[in-house]
Symmetry: C2
Subunit: 406 residues, 2 copies
C-alpha cells in the first residue's frame, strides 16, 4: 500500500537532485573546509557554493551573513540566547508572541531562569499579531523582539514588515523564526527588514539536521557554539558538509520552482478545504484565510480525538499530525489553538495537514474519503456527539413548531 504523507512539516522528502548531490559529496570524501591544504580547498569551495545558494533564497545582501547550523532549532536558540547574552548590559527584556514554536518558548524559559523578563503579545482569532501591540510592549530595556513568520500549527503569516518597522524605529533587534516559511513562500530579508532569521533545509526538500541563521551585519550577538573560527567566527565546529551541500541544492531548486510549487500547493489546499467542508460537518479551518502558508491546512473536527484519528489513518497508510497534544505525549492542549480562541475539546480534535510536490489530488481525495469514514466511526461512539445532534434536532423541531405558531 502506498503511504500517503500529509505530514510534510515533520520532514520533506529529499528531492532527487538533492539526493544526488549528497551522494556525490559522500563519494567525493571531502576534507575539512578549514584546512590549509588542497584537501581542504575543495571542501571550502563546496561550502562557499552552498552559502551563495542559500543567501539567494532569502536575498541576503552578502553570503557572509548566512551561518550554517544544525537546523531550525539551533538557529532559533542561537538568535534568542545569543542576543540575550550579548546585550545583557543594555537590558534583559524580550518581546515575543503567544503562538511561538517550542524552540522559542523553551529558549525563553531558559532565559527567564537567568532573570530575563518576557512580554508575550496576543494574537487575534486568525493568529495574527498586531504590530501596535509589539510597539506597546517594547520598553527601555527591551533588547530583542522574536516573532515567527508563519505558524507551524495554523499556517498564519504575520505582518512582518510592519513589525520590523516598529523594531527599527525603537532600535531593538528583531529575530524571526521563519522555519516554516523559508523555501516555501518567497522571502526577502532586505524587504522585510529582519535582523536575524532562522530557517531549516528540511522544509524545502533538503535534509534534516541542517539549517541557517541569517545575521544582519552589525547585529550584536554571541555564538551559541563556541570553539574554532568556522562560519565567519559565528558558529564553531566542523561543518556537516554533506548536509550543507544538500541544503544548497535544495535552496537553488526552491528559488527556481517557487512559483510552480506555490500554485500547486494552493490548488491542493483549496481542494482540501472544500472537500473537508463538504464531507464532514462541525469543523473549523484554523488560521488566516489569506495570510497563510499555502501548504498547510489546520482543521478542528468537533466531537473527536485527534490522537485517535492519527492512529486510525496510520492503519490505512495515511500519515498526518496532530498538534493537539504536546510532543511529550501529555494531554495538554495546543497553546496556539487556545490563543486563537479554540476551546480545549476543539484543540483535541485538531489535525495539521501539510503537503508538497509529491502529493497528488488522488492522495488528497483518498485521505478525505478515509477521514470521513473514520470521523463517522469515532463520532458514532461519542456520547457528546449524539447529545449535540439530539439537541440540534430538537431545537430545529422547536424552531419549526414555533414557526408554525407564529
Amino acid at each position: 500500500m502506498k503511504v500517503i504523507n500529509l505530514d510534510y512539516l515533520a520532514s520533506n522528502p529529499l528531492l532527487p537532485h538533492v539526493q544526488e548531490a549528497m551522494i556525490e559529496a559522500i563519494r567525493k570524501n571531502y576534507g575539512n573546509p578549514s584546512s590549509q591544504h588542497q584537501i581542504g580547498d575543495k571542501a571550502a569551495t563546496a561550502l562557499a557554493k552552498a552559502r551563495e545558494q542559500v543567501a539567494r533564497l532569502i536575498n541576503a545582501p552578502s553570503e557572509k551573513e548566512v551561518v550554517f547550523t544544525s537546523g531550525g532549532t539551533e538557529s532559533v536558540n542561537h538568535a534568542v540566547k545569543g542576543v540575550a547574552f550579548a546585550n545583557a548590559d543594555k537590558g534583559k527584556h524580550i518581546v515575543t508572541s503567544n503562538i511561538e514554536h517550542n524552540a522559542v518558548l523553551r529558549s525563553l524559559r531558559a532565559l527567564k531562569m537567568m532573570d530575563y523578563k518576557v512580554t508575550s503579545v496576543p494574537v487575534d482569532s486568525y493568529g495574527r499579531v498586531n504590530p501596535d501591540d509589539v510597539a506597546k510592549a517594547i520598553k527601555d530595556d527591551t533588547i530583542l523582539v522574536t516573532i515567527m513568520h508563519s505558524n507551524n500549527e495554523i499556517g498564519t503569516i504575520q505582518p512582518l514588515a510592519e513589525i520590523a518597522r516598529v523594531t527599527r524605529e525603537r532600535k531593538v533587534i528583531f529575530h524571526c523564526d521563519a522555519v516554516d516559511s523559508v523555501g516555501v513562500v518567497p522571502f526577502d530579508v532586505q524587504k522585510l527588514g529582519v535582523d536575524l532569521l532562522s530557517f531549516a533545509a528540511n522544509q524545502f526538500y533538503g535534509p534534516s539536521g541542517v539549517g541557517g541563521l541569517y545575521i544582519r551585519r552589525g547585529t550584536r550577538i554571541w555564538p551559541l557554539i563556541d570553539g574554532g573560527v568556522q562560519e565567519n567566527n559565528k558558529r564553531a565546529g566542523t561543518e556537516n558538509l554533506i548536509g550543507i551541500i544538500g541544503m544548497g541544492v535544495a535552496a537553488e531548486l526552491a528559488v527556481r520552482d517557487m512559483d510552480a510549487r506555490l500554485l500547486y500547493a494552493r490548488e491542493l489546499k483549496e481542494r482540501l478545504i472544500r472537500g473537508l467542508r463538504a464531507r464532514i460537518d462541525d469543523i473549523f479551518i484554523n488560521g488566516h484565510p489569506e495570510f497563510s502558508l499555502p501548504n498547510l491546512v489546520s482543521v478542528s473536527i468537533r466531537y473527536i480525538e485527534g490522537e485517535g484519528v492519527v492512529l486510525m489513518l496510520d492503519e490505512e497508510g495515511i500519515a498526518v499530525s496532530t498538534r493537539s497534544a504536546c510532543a511529550a505525549g501529555a494531554l495538554q492542549a495546543s497553546h496556539v489553538l487556545l490563543s486563537i480562541g479554540r476551546d480545549f475539546a476543539d484543540a483535541q480534535g485538531t489535525m495539521v495537514l501539510t503537503f508538497g510536490i509529491t502529493t497528488t489530488e488522488e492522495d488528497v481525495d483518498r485521505f478525505m474519503d478515509v477521514l470521513g469514514r473514520v470521523v463517522q466511526t469515532l463520532r458514532g461512539m461519542s456520547p457528546l456527539y449524539a447529545k449535540a445532534k439530539q439537541a440540534a434536532a430538537s431545537s430545529a423541531r422547536l424552531a419549526a413548531a414555533e414557526g408554525g405558531i407564529r
Copy 2:
C-alpha cells in the same frame, strides 16, 4: 598525483561501509523519528540502532545516556555551559587545564563574561595534568572539572581515572573532551568514571557534523539547544539522521577493528618518529612517549616556519597541519606548545601529523623524503640556522682543541 593525507585529525575519510549506509539512508528518505505514524517509525528504529552502536563504543551503561549532537564542539559547549547554567545556584567556579581545545577555552571565555571563575591547572613537559593539582584547585563553589582525554596537538593522554577519583570524592561533575580519543583508542565511561563525555564521528571514519555527548544519569545539566523533546528531552531539533546512521556504523566498525587499527597506527608512528630523527637534525617529538595517541606525531623542527612547510608540502600533494598559528591566521604561538615549555620559535616550526587506516608505509616514507628536502631548502635560507651551525662547529673545534691540551 596521489594526495597523501597526513592531516587525519581535520577529518577522517568515510569508510566504505559508512558511505553505503549513508547513501542507503538518503535513498530510503526516512521521515522524522518523532512522528507518531509509520513514516516516523522507521526513522525512530534507525535512530535507536545508531544509539546502541554508539553506546557500545564507549560502554555506556544505557543507550539513553547518549545524546546525538552536531559534533564534538557542540557536545563540549553543551557539557560546559549546560553544567554551568544548571548549577549556578551551587557555585560559579570551574577547573580546567592549560592545554584544552578552543571549544572548551572559548566556552569558558563566554562563561567568564557571565561572572564564572576558572582555574586552569598546568601540565608537565609531556603535557600531563597532575591529579593532585586538580584536587588542590577544587573549591567549595566548584561545579565542574573539564579536562580533555587526549590532546589534539601533541597527543598526550591524561590520567583520567585518577582525576575522576578526585572529582567523585569532591562531588564535582567531571566533563571530558574526548573528541580525539573516542573511536581511536579504547574508551570505557564506566571504568574511567566520567560524568560527561564529548566525542565526534569524524575522528573514527564517520561523517563531520555529527557527534555525541554521554550524560551520566542524574547529572545536573541544561540543554544547550532548547525546543522539542528529541534526544530524551536533552537536545532539541530534528535529528541529522543520515549523519547519525553513518556515525552508528562507524562506531560499530571502530569496536570491531580497534585492535588492528591500534597495532597498525603504532607501527606507522614508530616509523615516522624513527625516520624523522634519522633524516632531520634539531627536532623535538612533542608529547608523552607512552601515554599518547597512536595516530599522532607532533614534531617541532627548529629554524623553520611551519606555515612555509605546509605550503611547500601541499605543492607536492602532501597534506599536513600546523597548529603553530591559530586558525584565525594570527601569528600566535600554540598555547599547548608553550604550556609544555617550547619557546615561540619552536612552536612556529611545529607540525601535527595524523594518519589512519588508508595511510601506507610508502606514504610515510615519501612524506619524510619530501620533508627532508623542504627543511634543507628552508634552513638553507635561514640566517639563524647558519649561525647556529657555525656556533656548533666552532664549539666542536674548541672542544677538540681543548681536548688536545688536556
